[in-house]
């Protein structure tokens, strides 16, 4: 048995749905927060994921952070030692995708070796009539930074687990790579 533990940051602008995504994932889809509660600090949630086709489990220590600029110094100070991350934007808000560049820089600063393991998440795809960022724009951004891309809706519990599974899998792959290196020294 292998039990891996990863510090997972949910980053992105205010109101893109970071807390909703985290809550829905944590509750296996049974809890979607109906009212917007401003996340003023950091909330920690722990959830295990079994890595497909392995005997490994990854325990994600998920830090849902507030996105308001006013809180960012406080939030960022809790980002030391990021292992994996989800970078979330809102498909009805193009600026939230533009700001992902800025979030990514901050994540990079806090990552080991500037080594990034994360995914870009386009949220609120249920709001079809108000959608203002197409799939192409989102996936191009992800591709440019060598990140996986997912589209989901926290509200409709659509495709929520997939991005978390993907980062757990990346983390496990990196562990296997490290083991190979350790065996050679």
């Amino acid at each position: 048995m292998t039990l891996l533990r990863a510090k997972c940051i949910i980053a992105g602008d205010d109101t893109v749905g970071k807390s909703a995504l985290t809550q829905v994932f944590h509750s296996d889809g049974t809890h979607y927060p109906k009212n917007y509660l401003m996340t003023t600090g950091i909330e920690l949630i722990v959830k295990s994921i079994t890595v497909p086709n392995t005997k490994a489990t990854v325990e994600l220590y998920i830090y849902d952070s507030g996105g308001k600029e006013m809180f960012s110094d406080h939030v960022i100070s809790n980002w030391d030692g990021i292992d994996v991350f989800l970078l979330v934007f809102d498909v009805t808000n193009p600026q939230s995708l533009i700001n992902c560049e800025k979030w990514l820089e901050r994540i990079k600063d806090k990552s080991y070796n500037n080594h990034l393991m994360g995914a870009v998440v386009a949220n609120k795809i249920d709001l079809k009539g108000r959608r203002d960022v197409d799939t192409n724009a989102g996936s191009e951004f992800a591709k440019k930074h060598n990140l996986e891309y997912f589209e989901c809706s926290a509200k409709e519990n659509l495709n929520i687990e997939e991005p978390f599974k993907a980062i757990a899998q990346s983390f496990h792959s990196h562990y296997e790579e490290c083991l190979e290196k350790f065996k050679c020294v």
């Binding site: 039990l3 070796n113 490290c178 350790f182 020294v185």
Partner: protein, 137 residues
């Protein structure tokens, strides 16, 4: 000088904060530099090496990959309690290379607690914890 911290001499690792059955903490005290214990994510990571009886320790040597900062504590009681810090160190960065850190102890010890407070990568490997010194008769 001879290494006192060997499982063949009754030494054991009584606690370790990471778990991968393939790379158990005993690999640090089996006298084989090819085998290692691996941390499985997050810092700090900690382990305790216990001797069957008190020994006079001169030095402790820790050999590993990706260790950035560590702290070492000694326990002199028969129970692993009341640890006292020996040192806190930052280790030079060497990409994918085994680094050996030698620390003076010069004290009787029954237990050593080692805390890896940070790493240069997500994971750290330790292939050996060796202690030189002499048995107390």
């Amino acid at each position: 000088m001879a290494n006192l911290a060997l499982s063949s001499a009754g030494v054991s690792v009584i606690l370790a904060t990471s778990s991968d059955d393939g790379f158990p903490p005993e690999n640090m005290i089996d006298g084989d530099p090819q085998t290692f214990w691996v941390t499985t994510g997050l810092y700090p990571q900690e382990f305790i090496v216990s001797f069957p009886a008190k020994v006079n320790a001169d030095t402790v040597s820790i050999q590993g990959v990706n260790i950035k900062t560590l702290e070492i504590y000694k326990g002199i009681n028969s129970k692993p309690t009341d640890f006292e810090q020996i040192c806190s160190k930052e280790i030079e960065r060497k990409e994918n290379e085994n680094v050996t850190e030698n620390i003076q102890v010069n004290s009787p010890i029954t237990h050593l607690k080692i805390i890896i407070t940070n790493g240069y990568d997500h994971f750290v490997a330790i292939s050996s914890v060796a202690v030189t010194g002499s048995a107390i008769n």
